[in-house]
């Protein structure tokens, strides 16, 4: 003890530690193994002629492919808009003090999460078989407007409804978790200031819930971008369907699937960057600026 007490002044406080660094042979071995695998992968990509990179290049910016790509973007945006708005509404309904309202929201979520999305999309596209005529009017009374179901729900609407209404069920749970994650003291403080339930939700609770809602919503959007490929089963002409139509004609299956995959990768990369920006925006007040915490 006394020796240790005496020595520090001699060594000095500001001298760097000069120690032999610990070796990490495991890290080196793993690095080499992955390096070899990567080299094999690249080698096969380059030498396996079945990839037909030339054909990939020919079709990457082909007009029908680009049109399909934009259709995918469009579908994703609209389906997510329906999903997010629907999800917020469903989440609020589920937390309603009225058990009938809360129960209806629960039933919706139960149904749309409990059946496969593919089945739901097919259902919407065959809605004309189930209800040949759709009409708007007084319940059990006269109808005011009516029309052929296949005209009211065209292919695009079937695709968007199938994707959006299903997404709303998942978004509802994300929004509900976000709202529940906001401290109850926030609602109390707002109530004590005389703020109504709706105002409190809009101005105090939802902005704070956003911080926990955004990251999973970003994941949902990225997932949705790829899930839109399911509507190719009802022949909606999005990215995957566009490439399928091409290889059905010229049998260049692999290169065209690569074209589709490259576009999906590019689009999800853009979304990932956007998600990061949004997260920063909604972290306001939680990240201390320039080291002045406390």
């Amino acid at each position: 003890m006394t020796a240790a007490d005496a020595s520090p002044p001699q060594r000095g406080a500001g001298v760097d530690v000069d120690a032999v660094p610990l070796r990490h042979p495991g890290r080196w071995a793993a690095g080499v193994a992955i390096g070899v695998l990567a080299a094999m992968g690249v080698h096969s990509l380059v030498t396996n002629r079945n990839f037909q990179w030339g054909t990939v290049g020919d079709y990457l910016f082909a007009e029908p492919v680009l049109r399909g790509m934009w259709a995918t973007v469009y579908l994703t945006v609209i389906a997510m808009a329906i999903g997010i708005v629907g999800g917020i509404v469903l989440a609020i309904l589920r937390m309603s003090p009225n058990p009938v309202v809360a129960g209806a929201a629960w039933l919706y979520i139960w149904f749309f999460r409990g059946t496969p999305l593919l089945v739901q999309i097919l259902f919407w596209s065959f809605i004309g078989a189930l209800y040949p005529r759709l009409s708007l009017g007084i319940p059990f009374g006269p109808s005011l407007v009516s029309g052929d179901a296949n005209h009211i729900v065209p292919l695009f609407a079937a695709a968007v409804l199938g994707l959006g209404l299903n997404e709303a069920a998942y978004m509802a749970e994300i929004v509900r978790a976000g709202i529940n994650g906001v401290d109850a003291g926030q609602t109390e403080a707002a109530s004590a200031l005389g703020m109504s339930r709706a105002l409190t939700l809009r101005r105090i609770v939802l902005p704070q819930a956003m911080r926990t809602i955004i990251p999973p919503t970003g994941n949902e959007t990225i997932s949705m971008l790829k899930t839109t490929s399911l509507v190719s089963v009802i022949s909606y002409n999005e990215l995957l369907n566009a490439t399928r139509l091409i290889y059905a004609r010229n049998f260049q299956t692999i290169p065209l699937l690569i074209v589709a995959a490259l576009w999906y990768l590019a689009l999800t990369s853009v979304l990932t960057v956007g998600q990061h920006q949004l997260e920063r925006r909604f972290a306001r007040g939680t990240l201390p600026r320039v080291g002045q915490r406390r």
Partner: protein, 289 residues
């Protein structure tokens, strides 16, 4: 902390009668309130239970406008619950509770008591400021935005006026230079001062403080108590749940000692804190002083 349920059976019959009279009577000489004025808060045998648990039992209390009332007592004695009943954050189970001559959360119509609509409850809450133990500032808004939120959104004040007044309130609590800071960038004491300014921005006629210094580091307690002392000196009607007996002694007109959901005794601080009438009060004071 100890003996939460042990006391009421004996305490109720002996204390229920005197406490209805005592606080009101005692308050008059010290405060300058005119005799016969409508009390700011009048509680008559207020009862509150959460399921099987009785949190408040026959709490009777009168607070005169312009006075400072401190509620003291052990944890679980019902002080905070009673405070939360006053602005209807908790609904009372029995008895009668009035603020400024009007029932809290209810209205009387043709001899029946009817529940108020949420809108009417909210309107009454605007006039009662509340300061919480854990501040409850809105973390996504700056100090100034916290203050102007309710005046702009609830009282529909012009934004420019609300900002001007918000800055004045921040200056009053000594934080004029921190208007743009988010709560996470402020110390606990600063956050609580912003919370007081936020409550004052609604121009309340009554201020409720729920253990406002309990969550603070010891060296930050003084700055918050100082603001509260100033507020008291300006004549604000205040009800303060606190463990700061020094503050109670200096600033309170009436100190109310609660235990096991009832008011054990109430009186001016000089009497209650130095020569309490009840054994239970003496035991509590001997532990905290």
């Amino acid at each position: 902390m100890s003996g939460e349920v042990a006391v009421p059976a004996t305490a109720v019959p002996t204390t229920a009668v005197p406490t209805t009279a005592v606080p009101a009577g005692v308050g008059v000489p010290s405060g300058g309130a005119p005799a016969g004025a409508v009390p700011m808060v009048r509680a008559e045998r207020v009862r509150k239970s959460f399921g099987q648990h009785t949190a408040l039992q026959d709490v009777s209390l009168t607070v005169i406008p312009g006075e400072v009332t401190c509620l003291i007592g052990p944890s679980g004695s019902g002080k905070t619950t009673f405070l939360r009943c006053i602005n209807h954050l908790e609904r009372i189970s029995g008895g009668r509770l009035e603020v400024d001559g009007e029932l809290v959360g209810y209205r009387e119509h043709r001899g029946r008591i009817r529940e108020l609509r949420p809108r009417d409850i909210a309107r009454k809450r605007r006039e009662i400021g509340m300061v919480f133990q854990r501040f409850n500032l809105f973390p996504h808004l700056t100090a100034l935005e916290n203050i102007i939120e309710a005046p702009v959104r609830v009282r529909a004040e012009r934004r420019s006026e609300a900002v001007e007044r918000g800055r004045a309130l921040l200056a009053r609590v000594g934080l004029a230079d921190r208007a743009g800071a988010y709560p996470a960038e402020l110390s606990g004491g600063q956050q609580q001062r912003v919370a007081i300014a936020r409550a004052l921005a609604m121009r309340p006629k009554l201020m409720l403080f729920d253990e406002p210094t309990s969550a603070l580091d010891p060296e930050l307690v003084g700055e918050v108590l100082e603001i509260m002392r100033q507020l008291a000196a300006e004549g604000m009607t205040m009800i303060v749940v606190t463990h700061e007996l020094g503050f109670a002694r200096q600033a309170a007109d009436t100190v109310v000692f609660m235990d096991a959901g009832t008011v054990v005794e109430a009186g001016p601080p000089a009497t209650l804190l130095t020569a309490p009438a009840h054994e239970r009060t003496r035991a509590f004071l001997s532990k905290v002083l």
